[in-house]
Assembly symmetry: D3
Homo-oligomer: 165 residues x 6
């Protein structure tokens, strides 16, 4: 049965991402979650920190069969190398759908044998984004509805470090 890849920045991973992982996990035999370097946007957490958080969350959620990797390069090349049939995208109602579409069409051109599969995030988590989580936590707001406890602690530690320097 087909393998799938769920790529993202995960800066940091949220309940929205976890919800997508769980949905994809039920549909596919093998699921890779790939933390992408993405050098064109500044990130709060390093690639290694982001991968570590995803791995910690997968273990805690007992999604132990999900393979967490990181990648510096074109997503579609990674998909080809892994031999996946599908690339998973989580759709939130408030997604930048036009951008998603543009990327998916570009990827189809670069790797026509790989299908873009859009899954709908749970209504409960459909408005969460990593950038809003970072913005709320930077000001000391409560993000416990948006991210697991261990991610919240990582955010606290990161912002404490930033203030010191």
């Amino acid at each position: 049965m087909p393998k799938a890849l769920y790529p993202g920045s995960f800066d940091p991973i949220t309940y929205g991402h976890i919800d997508v992982v769980k949905r994809a996990y039920k549909l596919f035999d093998e699921l890779f979650v790939a933390v992408m370097r993405n050098p064109t946007k500044p990130m709060l957490f390093s690639l290694e920190e982001r991968q570590q958080l995803v791995e910690d969350v997968m273990r805690q959620e007992e999604l132990t069969n999900v393979k967490v990797i990181s990648h510096d390069g074109l997503m579609i090349e990674l998909a080809k190398n892994l031999g996946v049939s599908a690339v998973i995208r989580g759709l939130r109602v408030t997604s930048d759908f036009e951008y998603e579409w543009q990327m998916a069409l570009t990827n189809r051109d670069l790797g026509p044998e790989i299908e873009s599969v859009f899954l709908m995030t749970s209504r409960e988590y459909s408005f969460i984004s990593s950038s809003i989580v970072r913005e709320v936590k930077r000001y000391g707001g409560d993000v416990s509805h948006f991210v697991p406890k261990l991610v919240e602690r990582a955010l606290e530690k990161k912002f404490a470090e930033q203030k010191k320097s």
Copy 2:
């Protein structure tokens, strides 16, 4: 491996629908295509005619493992009865995405164990809709880029009958 259902009115089936069937077919072990009665909209072809056209097209395209059925009732009940994991929706760039979303959220409420899976129609067919095919053909326009020959002939026959009565 999971089974999937691709429901629709198929009034009539177009190259856009066929493209989605082929994509879903690669991802799922078993695929049902269900022609829905849909009594709230007037249809050009009867339920039986629409099912026959889908079956003829599947045979011609050698998609012989696709099961074509028809249904009069709630789609989500059909999905439960068939024991599918996923309901397939074809996304065109010009889809009525808000409506798709609303239906998918309603279906999640009625059948939370069944996933809505959105696949992207080929760029080539991404603007075709059954209603535009009907409109163009009604005026004698060329629809050979939009539907297979056998569907074009069915449209010609139908409009010829309508003119007589």
Copy 3:
């Protein structure tokens, strides 16, 4: 303090509408809910039935200060006659926002002293529409997450009557 009007077809009233009523009720001193005749769309329930359902729901929800009326004519004329400052519109993420905007701009031209106020429906109810409720119930689906019990019974009665005739 300002008065407000919340107009709609309410064919039938849903938890989404009730959520908007409660939100508007907290903001305004006096709230009118107006059931509009709307002759351009066929309705399942008569104007009288729709008004009765809204009244029954308001009583049950103990929103006893909300005034329920019905109107056959231009909404903006009703708003002027009632002397309200604001017309309430419930925004769902899946709203036909362009249509809402067009109506609001037209209404501003016809009654510039009356403000269109958009309130956001609860995430929980943000995908419910009367038309989906009717469609689901017509096929015997469960609508208890979408409408109060008394509305569900009215739908059952209505569809039973339709089958007889």
Copy 4:
């Protein structure tokens, strides 16, 4: 220099349409305005009445070089027969842009030599649609900001006739 065609239902013509005509008129040497029969939607005015209103308005606005015609058939066939280079579409902010796009892509397939040219309606008129004009006037509302006097009178006469029958 190129000729252009501006097709529509014009049921009835509004200040929004007139604004588009004036803009297209400045850009093209020869401009056709075509009133389309459109049998799939019920119309308030007959094809002949709609064409007459457009002609009357063109005369009043002194757009005497604009050629007003009517057509029963595919728009793109008309465009080919007239030998135009461009088909004009008026874009309002509240347009059903996805539908416009779908039609334009279909037309490009049926007549690739003819360009779809989108012009932006004036902000002042950007929310007017024929259907809202009919709805407001049906209830006796003031439509003098939306349509010329002669169109308003035609609406009054039409609704008076409808009431009698």
Copy 5:
């Protein structure tokens, strides 16, 4: 009667913002306009300069009962501290509506007792944004339709300073 908060960057305040203030002012007994620090985006004017411009404009427009404040932190915390019932958002047709929605849903989670109230900007000002005003003025374009004279002068002074340094 309820109090309301209208938060924003106001870099600088435009006729669009002023229009929203006037509309909110009619609906609420007490209105706060809060200039937010917003450290994630670079600003042209300092927090103090932006607050001063808002205050000067309020005085000039004789909106003397509007309270102008500035805030460095989460907007929803400010709303709670001020005891407001509503947070005002101005909707332009060209708003980034998805972003607005996402923020409003996040805020509802962080402060469920506070309502997001969307008001429609006047058609005349519905396309103005601070960023376009800055871009046009940077090149010496005329912004007198978009901002009051005193804001235009502040922009001129700021750009003259930037050129010197």
Copy 6:
């Protein structure tokens, strides 16, 4: 017959842009392509490099009557100085349409005599953007479907230079 201006960043020019140039070229007697400096966004290629690439591509495509210029300032001022009747904008289905609209309305305010004319990019190229081309090429992906060979070579040279420094 009217002159037209097609402005953009062209960082770098893509098959999408070339498609728009060809469409505009058929409609207008004289066509200017203007490479804009755009100091608010960081560019990969310098203004001179971008202009050179556009010129090279125009020569190769034998669009020798197109005048390629560069401009540092407001686009609408350039349009006035050139005496054009129309400013061309290419619409992709995945355009940021709201932004396009906002700019077009602003430009109409600054130069009401100049028409914004939206042309539809070919379906084949409708998802290409300069930013995606840069992103794909940066990682060594194949961009030969998106840009002419000479642009591809310029990208390779640029990224090779960046790696050295």
